[in-house]
């Protein structure tokens, strides 16, 4: 979307035209926001820190999906499976080989990326629902593999107990500590996603999404770029999976499942496909909805003891489904689009119409 600015504001250099942060006050605002996040453990409750931690990890996974689905137009139902891959790689490297988590994390992300490449291979020959089926296969094959292959290493269905990250003797064994790892990785992945989206790579992704035939005619190598999108999406998922596994301290084939993959897609729709803010908005809104549904369940049961026990099972999908339907009807471009409109209206005031 073009950046709308009041009349009279011009960029005078290429660097300024490309700048993401355009004014000193934006720097201040960004620094204050990051500082507020990093100091969260000092003023927020443990449950809020824990929630932010989990949402942060989810954002990373959805950012990867956004590169694949939002930018490249390849719908994937396998994001959670790639999280499983990353989680297992990291857990094994740390548990069995004694690696530091901080060394295992990038290797886990890359490992998941390579697995993502394999499941991305069919994308050259098939489109739409058929790509979905290929990624859905990942969601069945990878958990099956972790459950049945090498039980002496992967512990079968029982799964693995995962060690907490340790850095210079400091154990990241509480949400207040773990959030520093999550936030740091999240900032790195956000910068990376932002830069990918405005690079040659990102423009090729968008070209493929908008019309793969036209893109190919223009010289975009479909096979190469689609595979790169799958790789990047799986790298993000691998990093998120590793972060989640060491945060939960346990991992099995069910930790990240098909429902998670569906929810990640929904988050993307709610937040806004093909926008770097989309995964952030989507993960926060849906994450909070899930949290509300979780907290509401016991309260609902105490209000309606005889009827609510069964109904509570539907709360989470109900909240999610309603939010998704409303967004699809009223704001199919997601919250990110609404945010851009708000910003434009603010900048163009008093002539926002």
């Amino acid at each position: 979307m073009a950046i709308l600015r009041p009349a009279g504001q011009f960029d005078t250099s290429y660097a300024r035209d490309m700048a993401t942060i355009r004014g000193p006050w934006q720097w201040w605002l960004l620094c204050a926001f990051v500082l507020a996040l990093y100091t969260l453990p000092f003023y927020a409750s443990q449950s809020l820190v824990s929630l932010v931690n989990r949402i942060g990890i989810t954002i990373i996974a959805v950012q990867g999906l956004n590169l694949l689905t939002g930018y490249t137009g390849q719908i994937s139902l396998g994001q959670a499976a790639f999280m499983t891959t990353g989680g297992y790689i990291s857990a094994l490297l740390v548990n069995n080989l004694g690696w530091s988590f901080f060394a295992a994390l990038p290797v886990a992300a890359l490992g998941a990326g390579i697995v993502g490449l394999i499941f991305g291979l069919p994308s050259l020959r098939v489109k739409g629902f058929y790509v979905v089926m290929a990624t859905l296969a990942a969601q069945f094959i990878i958990p099956w593999f972790t459950r049945n292959a090498f039980p002496e290493v992967l512990s079968g269905a029982q799964g693995l107990n995962v060690q907490v990250p340790v850095l210079f003797g400091l154990e990241f064994n509480s949400p207040q500590r773990y959030i520093y790892i999550t936030l740091t990785v999240l900032i790195l992945t956000t910068i990376m996603a932002h830069n990918v989206s405005r690079s040659r790579l990102g423009r090729a992704f968008v070209a493929i999404r908008d019309s793969d035939l036209a893109a190919e005619v223009l010289g975009v190598n479909l096979f190469k770029y689609k595979l790169q999108a799958f790789f990047l999406a799986a790298v993000y998922a691998g990093a998120a999976g590793a972060l989640a596994a060491h945060n939960i301290r346990h991992l099995n084939s069910e930790t990240f499942n098909l429902i998670d993959s569906v929810f990640y897609l929904g988050m993307l729709v709610v937040g806004g496909l093909g926008s770097n803010l989309g995964p952030i908005f989507g993960a926060i809104v849906v994450g909070l909805l899930i949290e509300v549904a979780t907290l509401f369940g016991p309260f609902f049961i105490s209000l309606f003891p005889s009827t609510a026990a069964g109904a509570v099972q539907a709360l989470r999908p109900l909240f999610f489904g309603i939010a998704l339907t409303l967004f699809l009807i009223f704001e199919p471009r997601g919250l990110a689009h609404r945010w851009y409109l708000l910003k434009a209206a603010w900048r163009l005031r008093p002539f926002s119409h």
Binding site: Q46, S47, V49, T69, I75, V132, N161, I248, T255
Partner: protein
């Protein structure tokens, strides 16, 4: 293209939601009203005698936390736990509280997700700087949280009976029942001993076991290195290991036919509610019910299973370890007390299951341990560590007048005594075929 993308996405997500919503849901169990006649209320059991006068803790509040699956696959058995805990705590408070202190209970829904269980743990430990006891239900969450409980010195009384959660990097996790490998070994040893009585027609002289279960930490919780070695010692061969979906709509036909082809004559399933029901339904549908002895973990022998049986008669013959008493043991004062609470609070008959009963007993056990801890270290020094020590110091202990028998002394973190029961007749007809006996100790070593 984007337009198509949105359409595709919306259709897919909505289809997923509709499919999820269409999944069969448990129907209330059409049980008959229990025949027990209510008896006068009794005070919570076994308050140890303090050495000096009892402290007056009026105005204080002691909170028990519990979290479990209310909106996920295990909800059928978990939902009544909430009311069990609420009713038990209300009864303790009505009887004067814990040395005058009000007992409170807080619950969180995990949806069967370990991630949510960790979130609930974080929430509770964030709210309370000195949490004493948490009650949990899932094997996966027990394993994931065992280390945290030990680090934070918080007692976890749990129904998730995964051996690893109790004995590896743990110490603060205490089982409401025997770990699953012990249960498998116990029942198999019993069957070995009494094979002539229980063997199916044409079952042969040797027990050949098929392990048909869910592909989860709970489902695979019984078949461990220790239990495999024990079965080998007994001369029992495991001829088939099959998994089936953790779903009320699971089809176990292939797993059963594979077991049959492998020559199995005993099926063990480490599942609950729709898990054993799926096997029993499919065995009957295939006309193979009389070719197998079907045995399961303790949670399988519950009214929740009946909610998923095609015919109540399909449950007949199911064998399971039974490490507590049941609602029909009406001569037991603890059962009478639980029944009275159930009726006084006008609970739905669908909740008249193991979840409700066990939470009454579990709260009673927690109260006993907290009381002993207060007696030992005083209220001002009451911590999770003190409650941990008290649970161990209780030694062989009969919670709720023997409804639950535990012994956490030494390194034990799970009970080693159990009955074995068999369904003979309709719901609730869980008949004792082996009285309380010592179980094999098949705890994990590494």
């Amino acid at each position: 293209m984007r337009k198509h993308l949105f359409s595709l996405l919306s259709i897919m997500v909505l289809i997923s939601l509709v499919l999820g919503a269409c999944a069969p849901k448990p129907t209330p169990v059409p049980t008959k009203a229990p025949t027990a006649t209510p008896v006068p209320t009794k005070a919570p059991t076994a308050t140890p005698v303090p050495t000096k006068g009892p402290p007056d803790l009026a105005g204080e509040t002691i909170t028990i936390y519990h979290f479990g699956d209310l909106s996920g696959p295990y909800a059928a058995i978990t939902a009544p736990l909430i009311h069990g805990a609420e009713d038990a705590v209300a009864a303790v408070n009505a009887a004067g509280g814990l040395y005058g202190a009000t007992l409170a209970v807080k619950f969180a829904d995990t949806g069967g997700s370990i991630d949510e269980a960790v979130a609930a743990y974080d929430r509770f430990t964030g709210e309370d700087k000195n949490p004493l006891v948490m009650i949990t239900y899932g094997s996966g969450e027990v394993e994931a949280l065992a280390q945290r409980f030990a680090e934070d010195k918080i007692v976890n009384i749990t129904a998730g009976l995964s051996g690893r959660g109790f004995y590896i990097d743990s110490g603060y996790t205490f089982g409401l029942g025997p770990i699953y490998p012990d249960q498998l070994g116990f029942v198999m040893a019993f069957l070995k001993e009494n094979w002539d009585t229980y063997k199916p027609a044409g079952g042969g002289d040797e027990i050949k076991l098929a392990y048909l279960s869910w592909p989860t930490a709970f489902g695979q919780g019984a078949l461990k290195d220790e239990s495999r070695a024990y079965l080998e010692e007994l001369g029992i061969e495991i001829v088939a290991e099959e998994v089936y979906d953790l779903s009320p709509a699971a089809d176990t036909t292939t797993a059963i036919l594979n077991a049959q082809a492998a020559g199995a004559n005993v099926i063990w399933t480490n599942t609950l509610a729709f898990g054993p029901a799926a096997i029993l339904n499919d065995l009957n549908a295939l006309g193979l019910r009389d070719q197998f002895v079907v045995a399961a973990d303790n949670w399988a022998m519950d009214l929740a299973t009946y909610a998923f049986l095609a015919e109540p008669a399909y449950g007949v013959g199911l064998i399971a370890p039974f490490p507590y008493l049941w609602w029909t043991d009406t001569d037991n004062p603890g059962i009478q007390y639980a029944q009275e609470l159930f009726e006084a609070n006008e609970r739905d008959m669908a909740e008249h299951n193991v979840g409700y009963l066990l939470l009454i007993a579990g709260v009673d056990l927690a109260v006993d341990a907290i009381t002993l801890a207060i007696d030992t270290v005083g209220y001002e020094n009451l911590t999770g560590e003190a409650v941990h020590d008290a649970l161990i110091a209780l030694g062989p202990h009969k919670a709720l007048d023997g409804v639950l028998r535990v012994d956490y002394s030494g390194d034990n973190r799970s009970p080693h005594m159990s009955q074995i029961r068999m369904i003979q007749g309709g719901p609730d007809a869980f008949v004792v075929i082996q009285d309380w006996a010592e179980m094999p100790d098949l705890r994990p070593t590494e």
